[in-house]
């Protein structure tokens, strides 16, 4: 076969840092963050605010998003959309509580739509308006068009809800690098993915929703084992408890709307104040000039909200039960959501899990920060000392073990990711119905000198003669550096697969060492390959010849028979001696001794095939 010169596989050129953000698209509020000079940072609006209320108002002239829209909610409820996240990817039939929202729903199939003064809108379009504000905020501060974003979604979001989130980003020309589960983002913000493998719990008490997720970190990948929650429980309920307490203490009658708003605002401030103080005064003058002067202590607050805290413990127990775990299995607990600042929440969580939760990051920001870290890694920005394995090329070759303990490289080193590479393999023995696949990483020729990443087995290969089966092994690496290896038998489509993160537990020094060793030991490796290849050949010859002796041994004189047996014996001895030269000589010798035998067998089978046939049948 003649070869042509091909273009080199270019490793990715080094480029300027790319603009990537993480977006926490929340039910009550949203945030955008980026990694700036290696530090995850929340991006503030021009008035210094981090949180953008997830509220969109379709006004007469324009579209208003955020705090200004929220303030108009009571005056223009039908055109001011709050909590749009609850409707993402939902049909009317999915929403049993639609009547509680003051919107004009359209009775149509598919995703819900609602009528506003500027036309019919669906949740994707409404969410897109929130994303647009965050995108513009980021682009103004980062000085250019975004290269991509990671957007977080609740772990329980189904495909339709996830797809809707992606489409919202697409509508405003924002490239979604990936969607990330909110609890996973929080865990990443705390750097748990760099830490020890194990089970983690994420307790997320937001403004209006509560979720708890049980995550398992394994080989650098988070998997959501279970998630539970209460979509009608959040920080707002704690405000409401204080509000009720005020009504009770001051013996107030039902109040006009403006007094309710005033007292609710005071309640929220009191709640926030109790995070750092033991008591807080609540002083107000109502519209009827009645004065309110109360003092709320932490003890009272804890007491009047105890049942709310208790309500968060039930989903945790359910999630643990679903994951078939107990609270003793939990290695760490992450708190997410502004409401987890309340001391009684922290105490309850600490008490339940028997360990203090992680609290040193701002619980409002932790999800957006984790998303930013992930986004930064996905666009290939990296610091010198860390993250660099989450990059856009494979640091070491990836392959599988083949006969004789050799490595067949399938993905070469420095291949740019994401990528898919496939190669066909076959069975080694007649009637073989299973194949063990051992995924390894490294530059060396022998499996024992490479890193073992994973093993799995493909069963259900139809019995065939050796070499007839076609098994396609596919290596796929996604943008996160996650490697999935699948093996598929082509005739029956039987498939098995496994997912690993090849960079897990690898640092730069380790990669350098592995590369250097592959150079230092190149000569040894070449010899090892030569030996292993000869050994495979030997095994095949041994098996074939033994089979032939059994079938057609009668074609040989007893001297010839003995000579072949002796050659086989020597061959077997050489096979196990690790002397490649001796093995090759013995192989050549065995081939010579058996060639006459092979000739006679051929004659016999030809005769068998021709017996009883005339020339016309045969030709």
């Amino acid at each position: 076969m003649l070869l042509q010169i091909s273009e080199p596989d270019n490793p990715v050129p080094k480029s300027a840092p790319r603009r990537a953000v993480g977006i926490d698209l929340g039910t009550t509020h949203s945030l955008v963050a980026t990694v700036y000079h290696g530090v995850p940072t929340i991006l503030l609006d021009d008035r210094g605010r981090a949180l953008l209320p997830s509220v969109v108002r379709y006004a007469e002239q324009n579209i208003i998003v955020g705090q200004e829209a929220l303030e108009m909610q009571s005056r223009d409820p039908a055109n001011t959309i709050v909590s749009v996240k609850r409707f993402m990817g939902r049909a009317l039939t999915d929403l049993d509580d639609m009547r509680q929202f003051p919107y004009q729903w359209l009775d149509t199939l598919g995703m819900v739509r609602l009528k506003t003064r500027t036309g019919i809108k669906n949740p994707i379009e409404i969410s897109a308006e929130i994303l647009r504000v965050l995108k513009e905020r980021a682009e103004a501060q980062l000085g250019g068009v975004l290269d991509g974003a990671v957007i977080t979604v609740p772990a329980y979001f189904d495909d339709a809800q996830r797809q809707a989130t992606k489409e919202a980003a697409k509508l405003i020309g924002l490239d979604v690098l990936r969607l990330l589960n909110e609890p996973t983002a929080a865990a990443i913000a705390y750097g748990l993915d760099q830490g020890t493998e194990g089970i983690y719990a994420v307790y997320d008490l937001g403004g209006g929703t509560f979720d708890v997720s049980i995550l398992r970190l394994s080989r650098g990948v988070f998997e959501v084992l279970a998630t539970h929650g209460d979509s009608a429980l959040g920080g707002d309920d704690f405000d409401h408890r204080i509000f009720c307490w005020i009504l009770e203490m001051a013996a107030l009658p039902p109040l006009p709307a403006e007094d309710v708003r005033l007292l609710l605002t005071l309640s929220r401030r009191a709640k926030e104040s109790l995070t750092d103080n033991n008591s807080v005064p609540i002083i107000a003058q109502l519209s009827n000039k009645q004065n309110i002067d109360l003092t709320l202590t932490t003890e009272t607050f804890t007491e009047i909200t105890a049942h709310l805290i208790e309500k968060t413990l039930t989903p945790i127990k359910r999630a643990l039960r679903d994951a078939k775990l107990t609270k003793d299995d939990i290695q760490g607990v992450v708190l997410v959501g502004g409401a987890t600042r309340m001391p009684q929440v922290r105490r309850a969580v600490a008490h339940f899990f028997g360990q203090p939760p992680l609290v040193n990051l701002n619980p409002d920001e932790v999800v957006a920060l984790g998303a930013a870290i992930q986004a930064n890694a996905l666009v290939g920005n990296r610091k010198n000392d860390d993250d660099w394995l989450l990059l856009d090329v494979t640091p070491l070759s990836l392959g599988i073990e083949t006969m004789g303990g050799l490595v067949e490289k399938i993905v070469p080193r420095n291949a740019s990711i994401p990528l898919t590479k496939a190669q066909d393999f076959t069975t080694f023995k007649d009637g073989q119905t299973a194949l063990a696949i051992h995924v390894v990483q490294g530059e060396r020729e022998r499996v024992e000198d490479c890193r073992s990443l994973a093993r799995f087995e493909l069963h259900g290969i139809p019995p065939m003669v050796a070499g007839a089966a076609r098994i396609r092994i596919t290596f796929q690496i996604d943008a996160d550096g996650l490697l999935s290896v699948s093996a598929r038998e082509q005739t029956t489509s039987t498939e098995a697969s496994i997912v690993v993160k090849p960079s897990y537990g690898l640092d730069e020094a380790e990669v350098t060492r592995m590369l250097e060793e592959s150079m230092v030991y190149a000569h040894d490796d070449m010899k090892a390959r030569a030996l292993a290849e000869s050994q495979i050949e030997t095994d095949q010859l041994l098996e074939l010849t033994k089979h032939a002796l059994k079938e057609d041994g009668d074609l040989l004189s007893s001297e010839e028979y003995a000579a072949i047996e002796k050659a086989l014996e020597e061959l077997l001895h050489c096979r196990n001696s690790n002397d490649v030269e001796a093995l090759r000589r013995s192989l050549a010798h065995t081939n010579r001794v058996t060639s006459e035998f092979a000739g006679r067998r051929m004659d016999r089978s030809v005769q068998k095939a021709l017996t009883g046939k005339n020339v016309h049948n045969v030709v």
Binding site: L3, P8, E408, E443, M519, M526
Partner: protein, 107 residues
């Protein structure tokens, strides 16, 4: 350790490089693939890596990484016409067996 190019290979490489408009020479190597173990790699070289060994053959720069060189040492690279096709042919003294199609070989 050495790798040699035949005059026709030199001529073809020089023509190809000037047509391409960039590149410092030719990169040769081996990779595992095919049905019989190893396969040749032949591509344009745009840069020299730390692990590379360089050869000059009649004005053409040939770069080979150290590891591949073990499998390629003594190779004569020719550019020939065979029937209707033309291309590069490796005459490699290290090769012990080739698979039927000639794409791969074992040492």
């Amino acid at each position: 350790m050495a790798i040699r190019l035949t005059p026709s290979a030199v001529k073809h490489i020089q023509t190809s490089l000037s047509k391409r408009g960039k590149g410092i020479g030719l990169r040769l190597g081996v990779k595992t693939s095919g049905c019989s173990g190893l396969a040749y790699k032949i591509e344009y070289a745009d840069e020299i890596h730390p692990e590379d060994v360089q050869f000059d053959s009649d004005g053409v720069l040939v770069v080979v990484d150290k590891k591949s060189l073990l499998y390629l040492d003594g190779t004569r690279l020719d550019y020939i016409r065979e029937g209707l096709s033309e291309g590069f042919k490796f005459e490699n003294p290290n090769v012990r067996a080739q698979c039927g199609c000639g794409e791969s070989f074992t040492v």
